[in-house]
Symmetry: C2
Subunit: 257 residues, 2 copies
């Protein structure tokens, strides 16, 4: 995909959320997503395991000049890899499921993401594959879920329409006043890779302890643990403390001397 002219200019980029398409099926839709993004001032696109591989000429043909977004996108093997450097990740979830996670409207999510972006956090938003949507493991990677208020009797957005609504809300949210005061901490919000590292540490410790010995229950239990740690914003400092806790708890009891 070299030698392109990069398409139309698309405006200043800044700290805007990364759009992450999880297992997208159709290259046409990936192109239409890029177009929708550019309309709403979103420029960073990542693909997780696109079904038909990448690049696909059809995507550029469907992007209406938002070529720069397609030229610059990155490919990832897993959701975990795609969010590793991000600090706050939202997942779109058209059908409500029984997951204990904050649930936001598109408007609420856009307002919150604007606040987080103003604090300099690196943000992402996950969109699931056509038809199926995100699965439970995908959603476990997110800090909060987004559900659009739409006609419950007919809820069937295509991928680009779903991105369009979010991109539109993202753009519109910039026109609303920011009400909350920005936090300035001594520490910083952990990246997803740091959190992942901690969850790996915790999982090993739990495996060693025999806590996860029931093979049938193991995936569900791990998912619940993940959900818990994703729910709030964990700081890098807190994670270091938690690492210490796990290491300490996992050690064989010390003998008193």
């Amino acid at each position: 995909m070299t030698g392109r002219d990069g398409g139309a200019p698309i405006g200043p980029i800044g700290n805007t959320p990364v759009v992450i398409l999880v297992r997208p099926q159709l290259a046409d839709n990936i192109g239409a997503v890029a177009r929708a993004m550019a309309n709403g001032g979103l420029f960073h696109l990542r693909l997780v395991a696109p079904r038909d591989g990448w690049p696909q000429e059809r995507a550029w043909r469907n992007a209406s000049g938002a070529d720069r977004i397609l030229d610059a996108l990155t490919l990832h093997a897993s959701v975990a890899e795609a969010v590793a450097d991000l600090q706050h990740v939202f997942a779109t979830c058209p059908r409500p499921r029984h997951i204990i996670k904050p649930l936001l409207s598109a408007r609420g999510a856009a307002a919150e993401l604007r606040l987080l972006a103003a604090r300099g956090l690196r943000l992402g938003i996950l969109f699931g594959p056509e038809r199926a949507g995100l699965d439970n493991d995908d959603m476990a990677e997110a800090d909060a879920l987004i559900r659009y208020p739409l006609n419950p009797a007919f809820m069937s957005l295509n991928l680009a329409q779903a991105v369009m609504v979010f991109a539109y809300e993202w753009w519109t949210a910039a026109e609303q006043p920011v009400a909350r005061v920005l936090m300035t901490n001594e520490t910083r919000i952990a990246t997803k890779a740091e959190l992942e590292n901690f969850l790996g540490h915790l999982t090993r410790a739990l495996d060693d302890s025999g806590f996860l010995a029931n093979a049938q229950k193991r995936p569900g239990m791990l998912r619940n643990i993940r959900h818990f740690f994703q729910r709030g914003e964990v700081t890098e400092q807190e994670l270091r403390t938690l690492h210490g806790v796990i290491s300490e708890l996992g050690r064989p009891p010390r003998l008193l001397d």
Copy 2:
């Protein structure tokens, strides 16, 4: 298009704005528009002079089950015909032009249309053809223009994305409290056909008077007159008065007896 099963159920219909696609080019887009509409609780679709004729099987294939909307849509030869029975018509206008008409955001328009719908008015919203958009004559048929707040450096929605944003705002507006008190008048807002009838009367009177004798200036002058009368809500009673005024002015001066 008989013998269809009508697709998925799409919820209660009620007094919702009519979506009017003006000279749409691609049947795929018409189907995608129906899908977007159903998501936002819009059900009435009209087509003005679709380029490739109608019906087109591809539209149904692209509607994702919003078949009822396509089954029930009506075809019209002109914008004037498509809006004849409506009382308030908005036009989407991506690029600002020099037209003296109220200009609303998508959110503002949705809120206003909810208020008008609650008063029982019959409403419509015009979407222009792919690429070109509505022309000046199309916009002259509208009471107000809608412009979406989107990235000015890259403003290129496809037709279904444009309808999606409006449908989303329409649905979301129902969740906001209605602030204004509903008007109850002795009379009612005129239909577009009644307004058209009046404008025809006025045009004939102006032609007879020689006011429109300059053939080159005639279309622009008529458009300006139309814009003026579309700007506010004209009631049926006011139109009857205006008819009287024109008839009276057009009559040869009476001789004193």
